[in-house]
Symmetry: C2
Subunit: 352 residues, 2 copies
């Protein structure tokens, strides 16, 4: 708990003075006031986070967090758990979706294993943070122990620290890979939203009506059996969560403690971020929601966190693909704040 507690206590709210100075500059730029819409909100938040109007995102990093899920034994996914292991190799080889979109965004893409159910070669260039080989089936008991839940979060914090040691990180994108992981994510959302599982559950990788019914029953069973405490994020993570969800939570905490913004991807990354913000509420000030996932439960989380998604392109892939796309928009917003001249600077009289 030492790493976790220290990290939580290091998370401080961004600088309101720079936020306000950014708003002032945006208002004075030679264009109609407010005309850059959400770009202005992003730019002002980034100025507050970095304490400057000239934010430079030279070092973008995306961490794709992998883990397996015992609940897959219930048949909640179209794909077998084996695919998680295979996809980790695909990430390392650079041929997966996140590699392509990460490259396009100028971001380095890293992979972290928090709980894939097969061993990796120790020299595979990933963050080796395996807590256990897959969670237990939460339809039969808790997904993991409380200690494992804490370990997964602290491992996420460590990944962020190790990233920073390797090279500066100016913005972090989070992403996930874990066959079956919309099921634990939806369970977490159900705890917080108090909505019916049937109103929250989506089709994940593309299950049919029958599969969806099964998924809903499995989540309901898991919640009834394990009774996660809505006031204890770590209890929720341990009862119905996942190792990579703990890792995603830790990454948000680690970045926020270092004053670095985090762009979270879709359902699973946002579930990790939600836990982080329940553990340490000021962390939300460092958080950007990359997109509006096609998954239903995602909307509840964004509303709960008070975040407006940057994109709405019917993405439902994960891996950090939404984060990669959104990073380009955030980068553009910082340039807009810094480089668009004011009416005074270009000597145009503002008639307003």
């Amino acid at each position: 708990m030492n790493i976790l507690n220290t990290t939580i206590s290091n998370i401080q709210a961004p600088d309101l003075n720079f936020y306000r100075a950014a708003r002032e500059r945006l208002r004075n730029q030679a264009r109609p006031s407010g005309s850059l819409g959400m770009l202005e909100d992003i730019a002002a938040r980034m100025a507050g986070i970095f304490g400057t109007l000239d934010v430079r995102l030279n070092n973008k990093a995306i961490v794709t967090c992998a883990g397996d899920h015992g609940v897959c034994a219930e048949g909640v996914s179209l794909f077998s758990s084996e695919v998680t292991y295979q996809m980790v190799h695909n990430f390392v080889n650079g041929g997966a979706s996140i590699n392509v979109l990460g490259r396009h965004a100028g971001a380095r893409v890293y992979v972290a294993d928090f709980g894939v159910n097969r061993d990796f070669e120790p020299d595979l260039p990933i963050f080796h943070k395996k807590v256990n080989k897959g969670t237990k089936n939460f339809a039969k008991g808790p997904a993991m122990t409380r200690n494992e839940a804490i370990q997964s979060i602290e491992s996420g914090i460590e990944v962020f620290r190790e990233l920073q040691i390797q090279k500066a990180v100016d913005i972090l994108g989070t992403g996930d890979m874990g066959i079956g992981n919309t099921t634990p994510s939806t369970a977490i959302i159900a705890v917080y939203s108090k909505m019916k599982v049937a109103e929250l559950a989506g089709r994940g990788t593309g299950i049919d009506d029958e599969g969806l019914e099964k998924k809903i029953r499995v989540i309901e069973t898991g919640l009834e059996l394990n009774r996660p405490d809505p006031d204890d994020p770590i209890d929720i993570l341990s009862k119905v969560g996942g190792f990579e969800i703990g890792g995603l939570c830790g990454l948000v905490l680690g970045a926020a403690a270092s004053g670095i913004p985090v762009v979270c991807d879709g359902l699973i990354s946002t579930a990790g971020a939600l836990l982080a913000c329940e553990i340490a509420p000021p962390a939300v000030k460092y958080l950007f929601a990359s997109h509006n996932s096609y998954e239903i439960g995602h909307r509840f989380m964004l509303k709960h966190l008070g975040l407006e998604p940057l994109l709405d392109m019917k993405l439902r892939l994960g891996e950090g693909t939404g984060s990669a796309l959104a990073m380009e928009i955030i980068d553009a917003a910082t340039r807009a704040l810094c480089e668009i001249k004011t009416f005074d600077e270009v000597a145009i009289k503002d008639e307003q």
Copy 2:
């Protein structure tokens, strides 16, 4: 009419075989089918347009089209027409919003004068295509003659041709600068939508309730007085349009005739694109809508054209700023199609 007619006859539908091959590859990529949402639609359309699955957007160009509007005499804008002239210099000097966002997107930004009401120095590095020094006030009579309307469209076609002579263009973004130009754009939309002007008109650069009332009355007056023929796009342009709107129309026609995709910006650019697609319906196959403008009439046009906007970020600036942001997404989509490996390529068994 010679340039216009030749251009129209050169516009051909993109290659359906490459569109289908792209869909096939996207389906086989190592990720859940359909999980990249709108990126997949974009990528497949681009493959059809270019006749290859490996589309490279090395040469991005944005043309910001400037013109002035006699209808400003009615007080429909917060800014004076003088600002159009000043902003053209701001564009040339690189300090305006479109310069910043264009740079970020890796696009060259050009400015074309189709009808600013002051003369520019002949050596100013812009496209000098002035049809006339501002349109006439359409609340008192037609905005321009029919010949001027045709000239403005043909000038837009010429700008695209001259761009291509200077350097290859792989994708064109359109943008506008013209104080008061949401008023003619809304008039054009009113003709096509047959909706009430009061249901279409927006606040442009930010006019108040009284200003909005005035704008609605002015457009209603212009439509009653000039009676543009809904079946004749050139008549509409001449009666209630603008020179830069004609130029924007011509740019779309010129690009489509060369098989080059066009990303259009918000209300004004889309009004120009709408006229282009009314003149030559296959042009729509080359068109991408960058964003959902805050302006109400914009939604009608996108629906009418059958285009889904890529972004929805409450932008209402113009200049091509939405086009610049959307180009980065389109570029990412083309990389996704080409570079994300298939299940076969990475030897992962697709369980679907």
